[in-house]
C-alpha cells in the first residue's frame, strides 16, 4: 500500500475544512492509499495526484470518451466518477497497458492504419479496444459499433479507426496485448 508521491501535476488543497475520505484503490497493479477530497473527480485524481496524464478530459460530462479507463476490467468514464467511489476497485489506465518501450500490438495497428491525427482522444479509444479484446468481441459484430459509439474523434472521420479496431479484434487470442494485468 503506497501513498502516492507528490507529482508535478498535483494541486494544493489548503483548506482543512474540505471533506475528505480515505481511498484504497489498485491503479495499474499498484495499491494506492490516500485521503482524497470527496468531490475530487476520478479523472483529476488519476491525472493530477497520480501523474497519469494519458487520459484526457474532453467534455467533463461523459459524452466524448477521451477520459476512458478500465475499472474492474470494463471500459468506464473517469470524469463521471468521484475518486472516492472507486474504493477497492482495480483501475487500469493506458500507462498500465503500455509496453516498456515502443508500441504494443494495438498501438502499432493504430499507427499503421493512421487511426489518429491530433492524438488527443486516442488514449480513450485504446482502453475501449482493450476491453473489447478482453471480451473477445467479434470484429464483424454489431457490438463493435456500440462500443465505438461511446467515443468522439474530431480529426479522423473514423474510417481508419474502424479498420484498426477490426484488425485488432481479428487478431485477438488473449495474447495480443502486452502489459495487460
Amino acid at each position: 500500500m503506497t501513498q502516492p508521491d507528490a507529482t508535478p501535476h498535483k494541486k494544493e488543497w489548503g483548506d482543512p475544512g474540505e471533506p475528505r475520505t480515505r481511498l484504497r484503490v489498485s491503479v495499474n497493479g499498484k495499491e494506492v492509499c490516500a485521503d482524497v477530497p470527496d468531490r475530487l473527480l476520478l479523472s483529476d485524481f488519476l491525472r493530477d495526484d497520480l501523474g497519469l496524464t494519458a487520459l484526457k478530459v474532453g467534455c467533463g460530462e461523459g459524452a466524448c470518451g477521451a477520459c476512458t479507463i478500465l475499472i474492474d476490467g470494463e471500459a468506464a468514464r473517469s470524469c463521471t466518477q468521484l475518486a472516492v467511489q472507486t474504493e477497492g476497485a482495480e483501475i487500469v489506465t493506458l500507462e498500465g497497458m503500455n509496453a516498456a518501450g515502443g508500441l504494443n500490438r494495438v498501438q502499432q495497428l493504430f499507427q499503421q492504419h493512421h487511426a489518429l491525427q491530433c492524438g488527443y482522444c486516442t488514449p480513450g479509444w485504446l482502453m475501449t479496444v482493450y476491453s473489447m479484446m478482453k471480451r473477445s468481441v467479434c470484429p464483424d459484430s454489431e457490438e463493435v459499433g456500440r462500443h465505438l459509439s461511446g467515443h468522439i474523434c474530431r480529426c479522423t472521420g473514423y474510417r481508419n479507426i474502424w479498420a484498426a479496431v477490426r484488425h485488432a479484434l481479428s487478431e485477438t487470442d488473449g495474447s495480443g496485448v502486452t502489459g495487460e494485468q
Binding site: 470527496d38 468531490r39 467533463g60 470494463e74 468521484l82 472516492v84 456500440r146
Partner: protein, 302 residues
C-alpha cells in the same frame, strides 16, 4: 466544471443510508453509479450537502428469480444486468432496452435502479418498468418499507412521486410469460445519444391469433414516460387483422399522452409525436413477431 463541496459517506447498510438521508437537509442524495449525478454536480446545475454511496451495502446486488418476476437490487450495474443470462431469458425486454442506454462505457458504472430513480426524459429503463408492471421496493427512515408500482412513481409530468429521503432497494419486473412476445424501439439522432422517443411493448395472442394481452409504454414523447392503456384496450378488442390494429394502436398510444409533448434542442414536439407513432408500431410488430413464433402461429406482420 468541478463540483461544489459536499460530504461523501460510504453507507454500510441500507438502513444506515436511509437514516443519514433522513437526518440531512433536503439536498442530500443517494449515490449509486453516479453517471447522471456526477456530471450534473460538475456542471453545478445541482448541488448537494451529502452523497450516500450505497454500492457496498449488503443485499443490494442481488438478482432474484421468483414466481412470475425478477427482482433487481439497487447496486446492480447496467452492463451486468444486460449480460445476465437470467435477465436475457426471463426479462429480455430489459436486456434489449439496456443496450440503448447511453453507451457501454457508461453502463459499466451506472445502475439499473439508478435509471429508475433519475427518470431522465427518454430514459429506457423507466419505460420498460412500465411495460413490465414493475414494482419498486422503497425504504424510508425508521425502517418503513413501501411498495410502489412504477406507474404510480411516474404519474406526474415532471420529476417522480418517489417519497423524499427514500431509497429504492430493488425493482421487481414481471417475467416474460410463456408465448408472450416483446419489442423495444427507439428513435435517436445517432448511437450513443439520448432517446428522442422510445417504446417498450409486450403482446400475447390466443390460439386464434387474436391479441389477448398487450402493454405499451412510451418514453421521451413527454417528460415522464406513460402507459398507453386506451391503445392496449383497443388491441384487445381488435379482431383478426393484427396489422391494422397495430397501426391504429400506435396512433392512439401517442395521442393519449397525459401531458404535452416535448420540444428541445434535438427535436420538436411534432416530430416526437410522429416518430412516436412509428416507434410504437415497430415495437408492437416486433412483439407480435416474437409471440407468433413462440405460439407456432404464422407470422404475418413482421
Amino acid at each position: 466544471m468541478k463540483p461544489a463541496t459536499f460530504k461523501y459517506v460510504r453507507a454500510e447498510t441500507q438502513d444506515q443510508a436511509v437514516e443519514l438521508l433522513g437526518a440531512a437537509d433536503g439536498t442530500a442524495r443517494i449515490l449509486a453509479g453516479g453517471q447522471s449525478l456526477i456530471p450534473a454536480l460538475s456542471a453545478r446545475s445541482i448541488s448537494t450537502s451529502l452523497l450516500l454511496d450505497i454500492m457496498r451495502c449488503p443485499g443490494l446486488d442481488m438478482v432474484l428469480q421468483s414466481a412470475g418476476e425478477i427482482t433487481i437490487g439497487a447496486s446492480c450495474r447496467q452492463s451486468q444486468i444486460e449480460r445476465n443470462p437470467v435477465i436475457q431469458q426471463s426479462i429480455p425486454l430489459l436486456s434489449e432496452a439496456l443496450g440503448w442506454v447511453a453507451m457501454p462505457q457508461v453502463r459499466s458504472r451506472g445502475t439499473v435502479v439508478g435509471c429508475l430513480a433519475q427518470a431522465n426524459p427518454g430514459g429506457e429503463v423507466p419505460v420498460v418498468s412500465l411495460a413490465l408492471d414493475a414494482r419498486f421496493d422503497i425504504l424510508l427512515s425508521g425502517g418503513v418499507r413501501r411498495r410502489m408500482p412504477a406507474e404510480d412513481v411516474y404519474a406526474r409530468e415532471t420529476d417522480t412521486n418517489l417519497p423524499p429521503k427514500s431509497l429504492i432497494v430493488s425493482a421487481a419486473f414481471r417475467s416474460c410469460a410463456a408465448g408472450e412476445g416483446w419489442g423495444f424501439s427507439e428513435v435517436q439522432l445517432r448511437p450513443g445519444h439520448v432517446a428522442l422517443v422510445c417504446c417498450a411493448a409486450t403482446l400475447a395472442v390466443d390460439e386464434g391469433g387474436s391479441i389477448r394481452s398487450a402493454t405499451i409504454a412510451i418514453g421521451g414523447l413527454t417528460t415522464s414516460p406513460y402507459r398507453a392503456h386506451h391503445a392496449e384496450k383497443a388491441l384487445l378488442a381488435a379482431g383478426g387483422d393484427v396489422e391494422s390494429a397495430i397501426r391504429d394502436a400506435a396512433h392512439m398510444a401517442t395521442s393519449e399522452r397525459p401531458w404535452p409533448s416535448r420540444t428541445d434542442l434535438h427535436a420538436t414536439a411534432a416530430f416526437r409525436e410522429k416518430a412516436g407513432v412509428a416507434a410504437v408500431a415497430r415495437a408492437l410488430k416486433k412483439a407480435h413477431a416474437r409471440c407468433s413464433r413462440q405460439a407456432g402461429l404464422k407470422n404475418d406482420t413482421a
